[in-house]
Symmetry: C2
Subunit: 462 residues, 2 copies
């Protein structure tokens, strides 16, 4: 039995690790297009900020660690074509020569590539000009060259999703003056606008110039006499023109699935034009699985969607690897659980936003509330801002969003909510959970239960 | 409708608040034996340590807050007797006069009193000698008088449960040399001995002299020439005599339910000689509910037991209050979830220990593991020591214990496990949970999932 995983990031490596774990007799090869297998892409902002001191530290495991599990790594090797009936994968190796690798089971984990938004000048300008996309280690090295060689005083970040916010934090920590431009009405569009406004305020408190509802139209080299080498022209929702200058520009406006290899072999595409897979991560092509940012996402409340996240890629890859090795596991589904640190604060969400709940056929009620992370009489307590989304008709918990200090256990509190939603709990039942309490670390009714009770007070007791 | 709650602590106040909330037309009276209604008994160690600067700050709500909800407070008023058929409560007021208070529904929340272990000299010595129990605000004031007037240099703490550990922390913070003596083989007996050993090491690292497996036999006034005013004589498990001297002694070896009022009215006693109640918190006496530290605890995995905790008292009181006001709610049951801060660390548990699982008829397997609280490449990461207890036959998650730095989100991670156990999850399914991730606050597989996977590796894949 020979399992080949295409992709050296979360999904491919997770598949390879799991296949070796469940059947140590299985031969496993990972084909990775770059030289950085199992790198933590989510950690890049902290390398850029200087908090992670060497890029090699971003590896979840070294190549030696991976090979010690018994897998074979084929680095700088690009998968070109799948011969489905012949069970062969055509690859181009580091020296450009083509080779056919036979497989019994194939796992495609080709991931995603950055979206290139329709901004004039973006295709003409590049890293040498201080204009960057960010998705890979090579992109990271290019950014670091700009930072270290050009010593830029300022940056414009186009996009205010997770990576955009983390990079605003990172570049501010490095001392750059940062302007963040977001087309949508508020930053961090994966949470409610009113919660995003708290993130917005945190950015401004830390000196980031935030322009929301503002679409970037053009990036160009600045002329003589302009205050920095790059010029960014944008337009606000009400049609006002805005210009910013900066020494570097970072465009981080999302990703799209990389599906060419799978589509070339006949895989069908679904939500977000990602590879269609079933819950066993089967593509429908005989003996070909796919996982990670290149595939559709089964969401426990929304059905099929496209919601690429590292955690999901790990889980899907593990399922694909287990099944490729003869197992019978299914991906249990995503809840879109996410957390992001922005300076000294954290924002987190799980489940559905209000409008998503409407789209999914629920009758949602969203209730805003606040609670202390621990008893306020004990030093160092912080307020947590919450949004609770539940179904008026059934009382079902649909979504929770939290914002507060990074030491307010925001991340693990959202995980309590994620565990509750996973199990189909009602908001009323949250008060029945036996959660821990000591004054320095919580309250007799945890913040999570205070939020649930605030929601319940807005609906009649049945 | 007039509801009377006996007890001004968690259960009684929760009942009164909930009754007013669900039916604002209900008249509610709280009869409290002292002048400190709704005080946070769990916060006392942080007042003793000086971290809470005034004892009034320990109030969850002030008397004015409570009265603003529409309840009536009868402070310094002791409930003596229940006239069940007459629906009257006999009380003694602050000036010693007796009075009958009529009720339609009664909620008994008389709480618990400290156990007085059979130690020679304990009944003869008291606060004036520097010998203290600790359960009430009056006990707290007595301890503070000893600390402030006698300025003791050293303390012996008898008992190493939650309160004993918190007081070792608190008195060390105040600069006292602390000796902690525990009769059982390890400190913090509510977790596995091997995890308790980590707490033990933390205590010793912070200068606490810890004697385990050591029973205190006598406390006495020291003679001339002895190094401090009090002498504590103890004996180790293997029969060796041990003597310690200290300026003060604190005896914190647990509590027993205060049941005289209920038993006098005909209530039956169950586990731990606590008041028997059903899940609606009914005592069986017509129109009399009971809740909190004075009643048996319905445990979701163990059935009826006695496990007094503030969180449980809040929940039971809320159920009793809702039902007394005409509702139909049931206490969903405890999982014994607890967390304690010891200096810069936290220890937490939920569910069953190994031996409890055996007693409950399971075939438990306990697996020890460790994981990082967040990606180690990001500064400030901490290791979390874990114990996972599951049933070999069914894979059911039965219990989790965690120990790590107080910033390692130990408290809310144990709550993820508590939420999983509440919902009857298997350990395998923990890997299916969609938990949050960002490198400064977690890992792609959270520590909780790493612990579950370590457990799974010890059982054959079915």
């Amino acid at each position: 039995m020979h399992i080949v995983a295409v992709g050296g990031s979360d999904a491919g490596i997770s598949a390879a690790l799991r296949a070796r774990e469940v059947d140590p007799g299985t031969e496993v090869t990972v084909v990775a297009a770059d030289a950085y297998p199992n790198f933590s892409i989510c950690g890049i902002p902290y390398y850029v900020s200087g908090e992670v001191t060497h890029w090699r530290n971003l590896a979840h495991r070294t190549s030696a660690d991976l090979e010690a599990t018994g897998m074979r790594l084929r680095l700088d090797t690009t998968a070109r074509h799948i011969d489905v009936s012949g069970h062969k994968l055509l690859v181009t190796g580091p020296d450009g020569t083509e080779e056919l690798i036979g497989y019994d089971q194939l796992v495609i984990g080709t991931g995603a590539v950055p979206v290139r938004p329709p901004i004039a000048g973006l295709s003409e300008l590049g890293p040498a000009d201080g204009v960057h996309l960010l998705h890979s280690m090579d992109d990271t090295f290019a950014i670091m060259r700009t930072l270290e060689e050009d010593n830029p005083a300022s940056a414009v970040i186009v996009g205010a999703g997770y990576i955009g916010l983390e990079m605003a934090d990172a570049l501010s920590v490095r001392g750059l003056a940062v302007t963040q431009i977001e087309q949508l009405p508020e930053v961090l569009p994966t949470v409610s606008t009113s919660l995003g406004a708290l993130v917005h305020a945190e950015l401004e408190d830390r000196g980031v110039n935030v322009l929301t509802g503002t679409a970037v139209k053009a990036i160009s080299r600045a002329g003589n006499g302009e205050p920095a080498r790059l010029r960014v022209d944008a337009v606000t929702a009400d049609g006002q023109e805005v210009t910013r200058h900066a020494s570097m520009v970072l465009v981080v406006t999302g990703v799209r699935p990389e599906t060419a290899l799978a589509a070339g072999a006949g895989a069908s595409l679904g939500a977000g034009r990602a590879i269609t897979v079933d819950r066993a991560m089967r593509t429908g092509i005989p003996d070909v699985y796919a996982a990670g940012d290149c595939v559709i996402t089964h969401h426990r409340l929304l059905g099929e969607t496209y919601l690429p996240l590292g955690t999901t890629a790990h889980k899907q890859g593990r399922v694909a690897g287990e099944n490729a090795a003869g197992g019978r596991r299914e991906f249990a589904g995503s809840l879109g659980t996410q957390v992001v640190k922005i300076f000294d604060h954290a924002a987190a969400r799980t489940g559905l936003r209000h409008h998503e709940a409407v789209q999914a056929g629920y009758t949602p009620l969203t209730v805003a509330s606040e609670a202390d992370d621990h008893k306020a009489y004990y030093p160092g307590s912080h307020r947590i801002a919450m949004r609770w989304i539940g179904d008026r008709d059934t009382g079902l918990l649909l979504g929770v969003q939290l914002f507060g200090h990074k030491h307010a256990e925001i991340a693990k509190r959202i995980d309590i909510a994620a565990t509750a939603i996973y199990n189909g709990m009602t908001i009323d039942a949250i008060s029945d959970l036996d959660l821990s309490y000591t004054p320095p670390l919580g309250s007799p009714w945890d913040a999570i239960q205070a939020g649930a009770q605030a929601w319940m007070r807005q609906v009649p007791i049945s």
